[in-house]
Every structure is written in C-alpha cells, then in structure tokens.
C-alpha cells in the first residue's frame, strides 16, 4: 500500500536532490571548476527534449498508431547530423552577440528590433503553454493513479475537481516555487545557469533509467522477451495492425511531416534553444552531442512498442494508454517500479518546466516587460540606480504567471486531446521561428519587416488551423466555424483550408503556416534593401566564421555615463567588476582611464545585452550616447572596406605562406647540398689517402733503386717485387673505386638472367683453390647439385662470392685455417654462407666493415689486405637483386658472411 505521504515525500526528496546538485554545481562554477564543462553533460542536458510527453505519451501514441511515435525522435537525429553546420554556428553567433534567448536572437538579427523580440516572445508563450499544461496533467494524473495503488482507477476528468482539491493546482504551485528558487537566485550577466544544467543532465539519467526499467520489466518480466511480445501481438488483428503503418500517401505524408516538425522543434523550442545555445559552454561540445543525444533517444524508444503492446494485452479497455508505463507495474503489484516510474515522470516534467519557464521568463522580462516599462516615463525608471532587483522580480512573476496560465489551459482544455497531440500543437507554433532564424543565419537580405510579416502570418495561420480548433474541441468555442468555415465560407474551414484534404491536421497546419510564413518573410524582405543596422547585424550573423567585428557606433560616451547605466541593470558591483576587466584587457590601470570611444560603447552594450536582451540594451545605450547613426551607404562602405581589407590580407597571407614554403624548401635543398658536399669531400680525402699509400711505397723504392744503381741483386729483386705488388694494388683500387661509383650512381650495366647460385659457388671455389692451397687453408663446399636459382647477373654474383672467399682466406691462420661455403634454399630465399674459423668480427664492427675503406681485423700486420671496397661493392650488388648481405660472428668463433637472394620462379620450392 502506497500512502499518499510516501509519494509526496519521495517527490520532495527528489526535488531536494535536484536542488542539491544545482547548488553544488553553482558553487563549483563560482570556484572556477565547472562540472558542466563536459560534452557528455551537454548531450545529456539536450535530452530535456524528452518530457512526460515522451515518458508517458509515446506509449499512448504507439498504442494508437503503432510505429507512428518514432518520427518525433528521428527528426532530432537528422537535425543533429546538421549540428555541425547549424547548431555550432548559432552557438558562435550567440556567444559573439551575447544572445539570451531565441526572441533575443531574432530581434538582434533584424537590427535589434524590440517589436520583433516581443512578437517572438508572445508566440513562444502562447505556443508553449499547452505543452506546460501537459506536464502538469501528467504529474497530477500519475500522482492520482499511484495514490489508489494497487487499484487501477483512472483520474477524474481535468477541470472537474474543485480548485483546492485538484492535485494539478498544487503541482503548478510547487513547480513555480521550485523554478523561482532554482532559476532566479541571482542575475547573471552571461545569462547562464550552470546549476540548472547539471540538474537537467541528472534528470535525463533518471528518466532514462526509470523508463528502461519498466521496459525491461514488461518485456522480460511479464513476457519472454521481444519475440514473445510481438508473437502475442500477432494473435490479435488489432494489435498486429500496429506493426505496420497504413500504406497510403496520407500516412507517409504525415510521417514526413512529423519528422520535419520535430527536426525544427529540437532546435527552436525555447528550452532547447536555452540548453543547446545559451547554456553551451564550449562550441566543441556539439561534436559529442551529434551522436550521443540521438543515441539517448534511441535507447529511450526501444521499449515503447513492447510496453504499448503489453498494456493493450493487459488492459483490453478502461485504462488510458498514456498511463501504461505506470499502470502495468501497478497491475503486477510492483510497488518499487511504480514509484520509480512516478519519479521518472516527475523528472521528465520538472526538467521541461524548469528550463522552459526560465527561458520564457527571460524572454518575457527582456523582450516584453522591460521595453514597455522603460518607455513609461512616469515610472521614472531611468532615474533608479539599481534595477537588477527589479529584473529578478519581473522574472519571478513571469514564472508564476506562465505556470498559472499552463494550469488554466489544463483545466479548460486538458481533456480534449491525448498528450501527444498537445505537444504537437506546441511544436507547430515554434516551427514558425524557422524561416526567421535559419534564413537569418544564411541570408543577408532578410529585413525587420520581412521577419515581422513572416512570423505574424505563420502565427495567424497556426492559430486558425490548430489552436482555435483545439479550443473548439474543448467546447470553448462554438464549433460551427469548424464545419462550415469562418463567415460560413467553406473554403475557410480551418482543418481543410482552401479545400486541402488528405493531410492530418498537424501536417495541414504546418504546410499552410510555413507557406504563409516563408512567403511573407521573403516577399516583404525583398520589398526594400536592408538598412544600415540590418546589414551590420546580418554580417555579424551570417559571416560569423570570419570573426570580423563590425563596429556600428560612431561617437562615444564617457565611462561616467555608461558605468551607472550598466550598474542599474547588473547591480553596481557587478558592473564595476566587468568594467575593470575591460580596462585591464585594454591595458589601462583604472576604469576612469577608459576613453569615451565607440569600443567602450560597444562593450557596455554587449554587457547590458547579457542582462536585458540586445534590443533593450541598444535602446538604453542610445539614451546616453549622442549617436550620429550611420547611414546605409556609410555602413556599406565600412563593410566593403572591411571585406576588401580582408580579401587583401587573405591574399597577402597566401603569398607569405607560399614564400615561407619556398624558403623552407630552399633551405632544405641547401642543407642537402652542403651535406653532399661534405660527403664528397670526405670521400675524396679518403680516396686520396688510399691512393697515396701504395704510391708512397712505389715512389720510395723506385727512388732508392734509381739513386743507388749498385743495389745488391737480391735487394733489387725484393724492391721490384714490392713495386709490382703495390702497383697492382693501386690498379685494383682504381678499378674498384670506378666500379663502386658506377654501382652507386645506378649506371652499372646489369644483365639479370636465371643463374644457379650453387653453380656459381662451385666455380668461384674452383678459381680460388690455387690461393687457398698456397696459404694452406682448407676450403669445404656444402652445395646442392642445382636448384638454387635466382635472378641475377652471373659475373656480379661471382664477384661477390670471390670477394667473400678472398676475405675469409685473408683472416684465417695459414695452415690451420678452414673456410666453408654452403648454399641452401630457405623458403623464398636462397641463402649463401661463407664461414671461417678466423678471429671473428667484434660486434661494434659488424656494420662498419660494410662502409667504404673500413677494413676489419687491422690487428694483423700483413697489410695490404685489400682495398676496403670489396664488402661495400658486394653489398651493393646483393641489394640490387633484392637480397641482403650481413655478417654473423661469435667472438673468437670465426665469422660467417651470409647473403640471401629471392628464389626465382618455382625453382627452389
């Protein structure tokens, strides 16, 4: 048994938690450690889109139309796909212009028009009030239903209970009190509410968890999973009809219409604009929201249809489908789940009400009340020193008033429509902002009158085709104009305007209202060219990416005038702080040093705009600045000049970029040349050293023989022997240098053919056998008969093998030396190993011996070993044919020179 007080206590405990979260987030924001500076929090707070209309109403709509509830969530997914284009741009524009609401946005765009701001506010308030009524209805109904737990009793019809017995009345009062506490604790110049955003993100989690829990319970607790639910539904003709939508043009048209409508609403509803744009702390957060918010919508919708089917199976009649989320757990005596659902519904309602009323109250205050009050000279507001208290007061009253209007609508019209239809009426109202907002963001030609005309026309059509019929259905109005049209003109029947049939009433309204809206917006805008102020604002909005700041004020006003003005609305302390910051930014020590220039006026205006909206701010600033307004030609000139300068500097930038690139390339090339030069120099020096060494011996011995003709015969023979051998060394050296130069420059002539390395190994061993025998070194062969076929140049590969054999022979001891040659096919390679039992190659020399003129094993004194070019040449050759040459060695255990070459064809496999 759920006592009334338990439910009320749970509700207040939940509100308490919300308040604590908001309070903590505000404190942390003041301390500079924002909790909402996270893209995930941003995405979650966007889910304020899901109200009780989603929480309770989706199931109701699914029970009636099956899959028809989905377009309302597919639309936002599509909008978010455009988020990077549209949302991010609006956010940047709003930050640059200190936009405080959607009314402010439209007013600011079309030349800071107070009239336009007021019109948007009126449309928003009228359009959204039914939606607020809906939240009150949902909370009050769920409370009433839960109260009779475990009985399931549908609540009495709205408006039948006496006022003081109506739970919806108390819900409205509590909500008003809570929102006032929540949203108007202090006036923020940036018009942002960090605590509120944190609480909203938390609420999004709560309602998702609650709905998901019910979904799991219905699908897996009551039934045996999705397949079971759908199986049971197939048994009934009525339920199986929910699995498809009518295959008619009307049905598809309605589907497309709803998708389009929700695409616009997710951006243009005052609360969505507030959360997505005004409360955004970092435009980059949009990137995460692009997919996270649609994912949220996806998850919260998975169980809608199963719950609807479960409800229809459970309650064949007598229970409103809008309450299935709550009544299903109740029917199964799941007290805890039922309470969780109630809290989830409460969180969906509070989230919507808080953000919506704060957004609307800001609009009412800034764009409706303040402009009027400031005009009424009898109030002498201009002379008051501190108006910030008054601003807060106005907002509090506005919140109370909006909620009371919502309650009134609930009492008078609450039963006429199911939840979903009420929501759609609101959607259609705010869709009227689309031409002015989207058009104003991408088209510079829109004018104030154009926007006014478009909004008025669209709104009028909305009233006539959607709002008035909803009143008529509630019995407020005689309904003969519905049946026979206004003044009895059949063409003016509100639901079949000009005889248009074949659309559902929402699509019907959407078509006619947007047609009138866009037509008037474009048509009237094109009547005249935009004036100076409009051009300036259009540039700020449309070209926001260019970051060009256009100053629209000429002449200035002294700090002495501007500071008290700002102080009146922000409070003297806050204003002074802001001016001090501005002074510091301009490198000035004190506020009083600020020059009375256009920049200061600009600053003061944008500061004020944060508090009272751009239109009022402009009027206020104009009252102290003796402005000489700029003519259109002057503004155009400034803009032209600015764009010329921009184009010019763009060109310059491009040029300097090119230049820099060229310079860098040159520097690099120079560096490379210098490096090459140094390498060449080193090489020449080394070559000359290598050439001079044999030359030294030759010259010395020749001179000695020449100077002393009487040298003994034996001596003479010895000297001549040395001369001959050194001359041979010199010749070899020169040949190899030329050879290597040829290899390295790629000018060598190759004739690659199939050659058998086994054969080459045998031939090379044969030709070296004389040398080996002479030194007393044993040479063994481990070579297959054939089959080690590679693609290569026979002479070059022979050169490699002879070189390796000749090296090996030089490094082993005479008499006991052993050299072994092996040839093997290993996978895709032929591997040739020439190993010896010489001193080995120390680890640090294993790579350097392959460098030019580096010889290993210099400890042996019987020079000359060779030219120091044999190994580099061999490596060049092996690598040319796609192989590798390296040395393996254990200290003292001899050395093994190994090279591999790719097997040719299938010969080796």
């Amino acid at each position: 048994m759920l006592q009334g007080w338990v439910i009320v206590l749970a509700a207040f405990a939940y509100l308490g938690v919300l308040f604590a979260i908001a309070y903590r987030a505000d404190r942390r924001a003041d301390a500079g450690r924002s909790v909402i500076a996270s893209p995930v929090v941003y995405a979650l707070s966007l889910a304020v889109y899901c109200t009780t209309w989603t929480f309770y109403g989706s199931v109701g709509r699914a029970a009636a139309t099956g899959i028809g509830f989905l377009p309302i969530y597919l639309g936002p997914t599509l909008t978010l796909a455009l988020g990077w284009f549209i949302i991010a741009k609006i956010v940047r524009v709003a930050k640059l212009n200190r936009i405080t609401s959607i009314a402010d946005f439209v007013a600011s765009r079309y030349g800071k028009s107070q009239l336009l701001g007021g019109l948007v506010t009126v449309i928003a308030v009228i359009g959204v009030i039914p939606y607020i009524a809906l939240q009150l209805k949902a909370v009050s109904n769920s409370f009433t239903i839960l109260l009779s737990y475990p009985e399931i009793v549908m609540p009495a019809k709205a408006g039948t209970a006496p006022l003081l017995n109506d739970s919806a009345f108390y819900v409205a009062i509590v909500m008003a009190a809570f929102t006032i506490l929540f949203g108007t604790r202090h006036l923020d110049a940036t018009e942002r509410h960090e605590g509120m955003v944190a609480a909203i993100a938390f609420e999004s989690v709560v309602k998702l968890v609650a709905f998901f829990t019910v979904g799991l319970f219905v699908t897996y607790g009551i039934h045996d999973g999705f397949a079971d639910v759908f199986d049971r539904a197939q048994e009934s003709a009525r339920l199986s009809a929910l699995m498809t939508t009518a295959d008619t043009a009307r049905s598809y048209g309605s589907w497309a219409g709803l998708t389009f409508l929700s695409m616009l609403s997710v951006l243009l509803l005052p609360r969505q604009f507030q959360i997505a744009v005004v409360e955004n702390v970092n435009p980059d957060h949009v990137r995460r929201a692009i997919w996270l918010f649609p994912l949220y919508l996806f998850i919260i919708n998975i169980f809608v249809l199963p719950i609807a089917i479960g409800g229809l199976l459970q309650f064949p009649s007598g229970v409103d489908a809008d309450t299935f989320v709550l009544t299903l757990p109740m029917a199964h005596h799941q007290q805890a789940i039922a309470l969780l659902v109630f809290i989830g519904g409460l969180s969906a309602a509070t989230g919507m009400i808080i953000v919506e009323t704060i957004a609307l109250s800001t609009m009412v205050c800034n764009d409706l009340v303040m402009p009027v009050l400031l005009r009424m000279r009898s109030l002498r507001l201009q002379e008051r020193h501190d108006l910030s208290g008054l601003l807060l007061e106005i907002r509090r009253w506005a919140i109370g008033l909006i909620l009371m209007l919502g309650y009134l609508y609930f009492r008078l019209a609450g039963e006429a429509y199911a939840l979903v239809s009420i929501g759609l009426i609101s959607f259609a109202a705010v869709a009227q902002f689309a031409p002015a907002v989207i058009g104003g963001l991408y088209w510079k030609g829109g004018t104030r009158e154009g926007a006014l005309a478009g909004l008025s026309a669209g709104f009028a059509v909305w009233v006539y085709t959607l709002l008035l019929p909803s009143f008529a259905k509630s019995g407020w109005l005689p309904d003969d104009f519905m049946a026979h049209g206004l003044f009895g003109l059949e063409l003016l029947r509100p639901l079949q305007l000009f005889g248009l049939t074949g659309l559902d009433e929402i699509s019907h309204c959407l078509f006619w209202s947007l047609l009138a809206n866009i037509g008037a917006y474009l048509g009237v805008s094109l009547l005249r060219a935009p004036n100076a102020r409009e051009v300036r604002q259009a540039t700020l909005f449309v070209d926001v990416e260019e970051r060009g700041r256009v100053v629209g004020w000429r002449g200035g006003a002294p700090v002495a005038d501007l500071l008290p003005l700002a102080g009146r609305f922000l409070g003297p302390e806050r204003a002074r702080e802001a001016f001090e910051r501005h002074a510091r930014e301009r490198g000035l020590a004190a506020v009083e040093d600020l020059p009375a220039d256009a920049r200061l006026v600009q600053f003061a205006e944008s500061l004020l705009a944060g508090a009272i909206g751009s239109a009022s701010a402009r009027v206020m600033v104009a009252s102290v600045v003796q402005e000489e307004p700029l003519g259109i030609d002057e503004v155009m000139n400034i803009l032209d000049e600015a764009s010329q300068v921009r184009a010019y500097s763009h060109e310059l930038e491009e040029k300097s970029r090119e230049l820099e690139r060229a310079t860098a390339e040159l520097r690099e090339a120079n560096e490379r040349l210098r490096e090459l030069d140094r390498m060449k120099d080193d090489f020449m020096s080394t070559v000359s050293h290598e050439l001079r060494t044999p030359l030294t011996s030759i010259r010395a011995f020749s001179e000695m023989l020449f100077d002393d003709p009487c040298t003994e015969l034996a001596e003479r023979k010895r000297f001549l022997g040395i001369i001959v051998s050194e001359a041979g060394r010199l010749t070899r050296l020169i040949n190899q240098i030329l050879d290597l130069a040829k290899l390295e420059s790629g000018r060598a002539e190759w004739s690659p053919v199939e050659v058998d390395l086994a054969e080459i190994a045998r031939e090379s061993a044969d030709s070296m056998s004389q040398v080996y025998r002479h030194k007393g070194v044993a040479l063994t062969l481990d070579v297959p008969e054939s089959g080690a076929v590679v693609l290569g140049d026979r002479d070059r590969l022979t050169q490699v093998l002879i070189n390796l054999l000749s090296n090996a022979q030089k490094f082993v001891a005479a008499g006991s030396g052993q050299v072994r040659v092996s040839v093997r096919c290993e996978g895709e390679f032929v591997k040739v190993v020439v190993s010896d039992n010489g001193p080995g190659v120390p680890a640090e020399e294993r790579e350097t011996i392959f460098e030019k003129f580096r010889q290993g094993g210099s400890v042996l004194t019987d020079k000359p070993h060779g030219t120091g070019l044999g190994l580099p040449i061999s490596r060049e050759i092996v690598e040319y044919f796609g192989g590798r040459l390296w040395v393996e060695s254990d200290p003292g255990g001899g050395a093994a020179f190994v090279f591999t070459l790719p097997v040719f064809g299938d010969g080796g496999r």
């Binding site: 020096s685 000359s688 001079r692 010259r699």
Partner: protein, 122 residues
Amino acid sequence: MTKKILIVDDEPNIVMSLEFLMKKAGFEVAVAVDGEEALAQVAKLNPDLVLLDVMMPKKSGYEVCEALRSDPARAAMKIVMLTAKGRDTEVAKGMALGADAYVTKPFSTKELVTQVTSLLGG
C-alpha cells in the same frame, strides 16, 4: 754517437722503405706498427726522432704526438709527421700539436733524409 730514430707506420712496405733509408743515412732504427707500440718503444729506447704516421690503428699519430709532447722530459725529441692526407687543416693540426715537421706521402726520399738530418743537427 749514432742518433736513434723510431719509425711508426702500419704499412709494412712503407716501414721497410723508411727503415732502409734511415739505416743507409747512418741512423739507428727501431720500428713500431701502431700508436700504442710507438709509446712503448719511445719509453724503452728514448729515440732522438720519431717518424710518425697519422692514420694508424689503436692510436692515431695525433694522439701519440700529443702524448709525447705532454712529457717535458722529452722536449728535445723531434717529431716528424707523415701522412697521406695532405689537406691544410691536417698540416695545421699536426704543427699545433707540437710536430717539428710535416711530410706528405708520397714523399721524396732525398728530401726526407735531408730534413731528418737537419733536424738532428747534422
């Protein structure tokens, strides 16, 4: 008294030719094939002049020259650097390290003998 000359080079044929030349000119000759052996021989024999090749394994001629010049007891010892690298910077480096003469390979045998003789006060 016969002057003593130490020949330091890692090319056996060059050593052989220098040894022959110097002996013929009437000097007493010892041989070393690398830098370390050269220092050992100097300590043992205390030669009057060292014919020192620059490019050698273990210790280069420059290092040997520097080591020898750091010992004041051998201030009178003459050092003739021999090198196959004839660049000006290398000549300057050798002279800066305290060599008495710098001879580029391939050298004229007559000139070398003349230079050595004059350095030894002949």
